[in-house]
């Protein structure tokens, strides 16, 4: 793991994307469903997942979208990125969604549909369940 941006401890199932996410432009703020047909998570909801994606893109106002999906009970349980960006960092901070950044190798090891425990305060923050 590289950095803890927002602390927390959650257990959940990975929803993984290889594409960056533009929260302001492409996420429905009521349902958490991605509505960009060119995105690999098209029509999928991020609700109650551990959302793994490279990094956020687009306007910093996207932080308010992250706050909205949380208010509408459609937010991920946690977010895990390769690279930090201020939109996702401040959005997760507003909404109190745990956020960490990880290395390229760790990113490759996280598979879609796998259940994990993320505990940002632990010495081994990511635990896999078989």
């Amino acid at each position: 793991m590289k950095k803890t941006l927002v602390k927390g401890k959650v257990k959940g199932t990975i929803l993984k994307s290889q594409n960056p996410i533009n929260f302001l432009g492409t996420m429905d703020k009521k349902t958490g469903i991605i509505n960009d047909e060119y995105h690999d998570l098209f029509k999928k909801s991020v609700k109650d997942t551990i959302l793994v994606f490279p990094y956020g893109i687009g306007s910093s106002v996207g932080a308010y979208t992250i706050y909205s999906i949380k208010s509408n009970n459609s937010a991920p349980l946690a977010m895990i990125c390769k690279k930090v960006d201020l939109t996702v960092a401040t959005g997760c901070a507003l909404a109190n969604i745990p956020l960490v950044t990880i290395t390229e190798e760790e990113f490759s090891s996280l598979e879609n549909g796998k259940e994990i425990l993320l505990d940002t305060e632990s010495s081994s923050p990511i635990t896999f369940f078989e």
Partner: protein, 384 residues
Amino acid sequence: MELTREEESALKGEQGETMQTAYRILVATGEATDAEKLIPIEWAHLSGVNYNTIGDAGEEFLSSISKDARVKVKTSLNPMGFDIDNVSNYNLEDNFISKQLSIKQSYETMGVIPSFSCIPYEIFDIPKEGTQVSFAESNAAIHANSFDNLKTNKESAFSALASALTGKSPYSSLRKETSSKLTIQMKVENPNELTYGMLGFFAGKVGNESVNISGIGQMDRRSCKSLCGGMGTSGTCAKFNFNEDDQESEKIDFDEAEMGKVYDELNTCEKGDLITLGSPQLGLEEISDLAVRLKGRSFKKRCMIFCPRAVKEQATKLGHRNKLEKAGCEILSDCCTCLTPLIKKEEVDGVTTNSIKGAYYLKNSNGVNVNLKSLSEIIKDETK
């Protein structure tokens, strides 16, 4: 990042939910920018005011947080979507107006000064040299760092709000002593404010954090603002240095060819249906200068002038406003060209302006064409 015991306690929620949220934002921002600690700031300037940009999600957040959030330091505010004095002339939807007024109310409840201006450096007194501030408006952050001897990073709406509520900012990047890795050598002769705007836009694209500029002489206030507005639009850079002889840095020229590229990117038509002046908003000096230059002349088409309310009131008392209105200008306070809902592509094909920042947002957000001209050319071509 190291936190004091009190900061840790706030982050744990022991000082209430609002302070916890504010500290979470500062910690996330601090970790993202490799800050070592938080330091006190004396003045915050907030963006995220115009309903056009923050939408329902922003309006709801501010309404919720304003129930108990109060600012700890002097806090000023960016423009909103309209001027309440004349909003009825602009055919805005009732929903827009009521949501905008809710946003205004939320900020006022939090104790923010309702300045609705993107040029805080022109309407407030500047603190002493080296003072740490937290400015979210990009042109204001750049102006503060480059011309006012203040220190700020290019803050986001959220980090500046968190700084206002806590009186602190992460100590990173431009808050420390820095030197520019890149020098832009100004090679364009006889520059006007439009040239400086294009130079700024170019600098924002090639620079990172700060850039050094050589080869520019004295700039008037209009040109300084244009330079800052241009750079804030195109990149993440938030400071100009003006060293003529920086041996260490990499050199790059801004010449007629580079300027031509910026012009071709932002100038999309040869004629506007209306003219806008002000992005950044005009200060009293520019308003007074304009009143002199328009003596005996009047615009052949609509000309919208954007300025802070404090400037509009002074301009009214000094008689400038009357002169400008006689010359056919519409004076709007509390709002600005950039991200205005008052210019709609259904009603306007093209806008003439001398603002690079305004041009960028008119083109990309409002979807209208832009005709770039310096103020002198605008007065020559568009008045009689």
